[in-house]
């Protein structure tokens, strides 16, 4: 329970409209898209960096935990306040402060929704490359704190590659600023890397300078289907292996494809055991050439059908369907667990075979979907948590999937983050010294352990 004194302080800082403490309000900040839930004691909506600083000062003094929250679309439990305390909501700090395409950057508040940046840039012929499937809802603060990726990160890189500078408030309430509006900047440590993926455990992001890119002249989108999943995966390895880097290359197995088709009715081939959604972009002539090479490679791997999106609307429909995959899966069973182990792209076929083996062995429904071009797998298990026996199998299956990924030279998470879901598995990929190094950093900047406690550090 929060002291009345602290609550009054919060009200003083943000006004009583900005503080929620009724049970029916708190219940709405207990979750993200993962399965664990925990109620906060209070929710505050700061309006400025100064508000954030004052709130953190007060919380530090009282030793009360503070967990940042963007849109709550994390799939690993990162914004779930497992140690209660304050949830600091950023959905209302949502201003785009500056759009400067001449110098190729934007300055935004943390609550700006990813898609709103895209909309603000479109008239100038620019875009912001990181495109998580949640882009219509998720915020830049959340994207940075989880170092989000997305389909086109295959060619363009992930969030960390686009953060030029940040304003961050530390647990003490001190405000720090690093980086600049320059694409090149090697002044001191590259601190933005430290905060990308920090999951709100090191500081609260209050402003970001992001690098933006001119839109490519041409975009081509292909939907390719295959008779079996193995050749689908091999086509991915072959394409990337031959030096072609598409903007995106998404792999879907039969179950996923059917789930999407049920929901979106796009006329996808339900019988295809595997399919690839491939997008290339760039100069028109170069696209033509790449397209030819890709068609060659998929044909060598026994592609059954190759279709190209004829219009922008068709292309958008394919991507909307792809972005719905997670939600569509939720239909199959009450609970859905989605992981994102990542392996070197040459190991994609082996990893998919392993996931399917594990699914069969435990008799579980596992759908496979992947940002395949960069080896980022999204195995999704649909199950029922109230069925204890089944849930135990789910947990064992995931443990084996993590182990397999590590064995193949991969890692636990490509983009979703660690949160509550995977902290127990960190020793699989980091030795004790490395974990201790992370703890030292945490201890140095947040000695009172008030920022998002109970997570991976």
């Amino acid at each position: 329970m929060l002291s009345t004194q602290l609550k009054n302080q919060l009200i003083e800082i943000v006004g009583d409209q900005g503080v929620l403490d009724q049970p029916e309000q708190l219940a709405c900040y207990a979750y993200d898209a993962f399965i664990e839930e925990a109620l906060p004691d209070v929710v505050v909506f700061p309006k400025s960096t100064a508000d954030v600083s004052q709130i953190l000062k007060a919380a530090s003094k009282a030793g009360v935990p503070v967990t940042g929250r963007g849109a709550g679309t994390s799939v690993c439990g990162a914004p779930v306040p497992v140690r209660q305390g304050i949830v600091m909501g950023f959905s209302k700090m949502d201003k785009i402060i500056e759009v400067n395409t001449r110098d190729r950057y934007v300055v935004v508040q943390p609550g700006v929704v990813n898609a709103d940046i895209q909309r603000a840039l479109a008239p100038f012929g620019f875009f912001y490359p990181p495109d998580p499937g949640s882009m219509n809802t998720s915020t830049i603060g959340g994207n940075i704190a989880l170092n989000a990726g997305g389909p086109r990160c295959l060619k363009y890189g992930v969030t960390v590659d686009y953060v030029l500078g940040l304003e961050v408030v530390l647990a003490s309430g001190e405000i720090i600023r690093f980086g600049s509006k320059n694409v090149k900047d090697v002044t001191g440590y590259k601190l933005s890397s430290l905060f990308c993926g920090s999951e709100g455990t090191l500081g609260i992001i209050t402003e970001a300078i992001l690098k933006v890119m001119p839109k490519p002249e041409a975009v081509r989108t292909l939907m390719v289907t295959f008779g079996d999943l193995d050749s689908t995966a091999k086509a991915v390895t072959d394409i990337i292996g031959s030096g072609i880097i598409p903007a995106a290359m998404e792999l879907m197995d039969q179950m996923t494809l059917n789930a999407i088709e049920d929901a979106a009715g796009l006329g996808l081939d339900r019988k295809a055991a595997g399919s690839l959604l491939i997008e290339i972009d760039g100069v028109a002539e170069a696209c033509d050439k790449q397209l030819k090479q890709i068609v060659e490679k998929v044909n060598e791997n026994g592609a059954i059908k190759i279709e190209e999106a004829a219009t922008d609307i068709e292309r958008e429909r394919l991507w909307t369907a792809r972005r719905s995959a997670y939600g569509v899966f939720a239909k199959i069973a009450p609970d859905i667990l989605s992981e994102d182990v990542t392996v070197p792209v040459s190991q994609v076929p082996e990893m998919i075979r392993t996931i399917n083996d594990i699914g069969e062995r435990y008799d579980l429904t596992i759908g496979v979907l992947a940002h395949a071009g960069d080896g980022n797998m999204h195995p999704m298990i649909a199950a029922d948590r109230s069925d204890k026996a089944q849930w135990e199998k789910v947990e064992r299956a995931f443990t084996e999937i993590f182990q397999a990924a590590v064995r193949l030279g991969g890692t636990l998470s490509g983009e979703h983050g660690i949160g509550l879901a995977k902290s127990a598995f960190i020793p699989l990929v980091m030795n004790r010294e490395t974990v201790s190094f992370m703890k030292k950093i945490k201890q140095a900047v947040d000695p009172g352990q008030i920022l998002n406690p109970g997570k991976f550090v």
């Binding site: 009724q22 049970p23 029916e24 709405c28 909506f45 939600g327 939720a330 239909k331």
Partner: protein, 408 residues
């Protein structure tokens, strides 16, 4: 199949579709949160409070969340059940109560002996009074039809020229009491197409206002009366000019009658319900237009949420507007943005509704059009009600616009 609460994966995709979340930006008003709250309330981990009722009421019942939800959750029914529970626990505001009472009694008042005459006068006045609030200035409230529309019509209106078939017309309350021009145009267009139009005398309010306000029991007598009145026989379609009525007849009636002996009748009615523009779009060959004149009217369209989310009728409206002679159709960048009307939402939450409206007004003013058409009476009331004296565009139902374009 529509899915239950437990199938919400909390993915958050519905947040971007929800107009109320878009303005307030607080999770608790989001569709995802409302489902969570309903779940917690159902499993008794959350008490029923006035605050809970308040959150549940901050909703336009626009259906945009369900349309965006990849898990196929039926938000509409869940919200309706919850609203009923909340009203049972905490009561309803006097203005809303009187509206429900009046609409619920509409049928009985009109046809009950002795009360008939006073009933007809009473309903519109009191209805108007309960709506003359919210974010709409009183002076902008539309004047009522001098006489309820249906009382001015024959029950069977013959086709003009050779008859090609017959249809039933379900007028809805708005056309009956407020917007008779839409009724006249609907009948006119159908006649022109060669349809005989049957306007069953005993039809009454579709009940949606009551269902949205948790008054299911009151709604039931209206629903039964409508099911009886609308017996389709061999008519080609049951035409609606309002998508909200359409949605109720098509989806809610069969669901509510699931257990009752009226289920078969409700299903039969549901299969014939058609938005007037979808109907016209399928029969464009039956229309002849007045092609004279060289001063095209400029027009833009506001697509009501219920039209977009239930019948896709908005695509028909837009496609027809694009084809009309002497018409300069200007697609609006925020055609699909909710105007904040939402049944009684504009009355209950004027500030939020006002913000939604402000965005729409700016863009329509920039478009410089003569007409701003919309096929939902609440949207129409809301759009027109928020115009300033210097705004010259007229807000009408697109069917009126279409009717005026026909060759006499």
């Amino acid at each position: 199949m529509k899915q239950g609460l437990q199938n919400c994966g909390k993915c958050g995709l519905c947040l971007s579709a929800c107009p109320v979340y878009g303005i307030l930006k607080e999770e608790q008003v989001s569709p995802r949160a409302k489902l969570q709250l309903i779940k917690s309330h159902d499993n008794k981990s959350l008490e029923s409070t006035q605050g809970l009722k308040e959150i549940v009421s901050r909703c336009l019942m626009c259906g945009s969340c369900a349309a965006a939800c990849p898990a196929g959750i039926d938000h509409y029914s869940k919200f309706m059940e919850m609203r009923k529970q909340m009203v049972a626990d905490h009561g309803e505001s006097p203005a809303i109560k009187s509206m429900i009472y009046l609409l619920g009694r509409e049928y009985r008042l009109k046809f009950g002996t002795g009360l008939a005459k006073t009933g007809q006068k009473m309903i519109p006045d009191a209805l108007a009074r309960s709506f003359k609030l919210g974010n709409i200035p009183i002076k902008n409230f539309p004047t009522l039809n001098p006489k309820p529309f249906r009382t001015q019509q024959e029950v069977i209106v013959p086709a003009a020229g050779d008859p090609v078939g017959s249809v039933i017309y379900f007028t809805g309350c708005a056309t009956n009491y407020l917007y008779e021009d839409a009724g006249k145009a609907t009948i006119g267009v159908l006649q022109h197409m060669g349809y005989q139009v049957i306007i069953p005398e005993k039809q009454c309010c579709c009940s949606v206002p009551m269902l949205f306000h948790g008054a299911q029991d009151q709604a039931m007598s209206n629903i039964r009366a409508n099911i009886e009145a609308l017996d389709p026989g061999d008519v080609e379609a049951i035409i609606v000019d309002c998508s909200t009525c359409g949605e109720a007849l098509e989806n809610e009636y069969p669901k509510l009658m699931e257990q009752g002996d009226d289920h078969a009748a409700a299903t039969q009615i549901a299969s014939k319900v058609t938005h007037i523009f979808s109907f016209v779009n399928d029969h464009m060959d039956l229309l002849t237009f007045d092609t004279a004149g060289d001063n095209p009217s400029t027009v833009t369209y506001h697509a009501p949420c219920h039209t977009r989310n239930n019948s896709q009728g908005h695509l028909a409206v837009e496609s027809i507007l694009k084809q009309l002679p002497n018409t300069d159709y200007r697609p609006s960048p925020d055609r699909d943005q909710c105007c904040g009307g939402g049944g009684t939402f504009f009355y209950e939450h004027p500030q939020v509704a006002g913000e939604m409206m402000a965005q729409k007004l700016t863009s329509v003013r920039n478009m410089e059009v003569d007409y701003w058409v919309t096929d939902c009476p609440v949207c129409r009331l809301n759009l027109a009600g928020n115009l300033e004296p210097q705004d010259t565009m007229q807000v009408v139902h697109p069917i009126t616009f279409l009717y005026n374009a026909l060759k006499a």
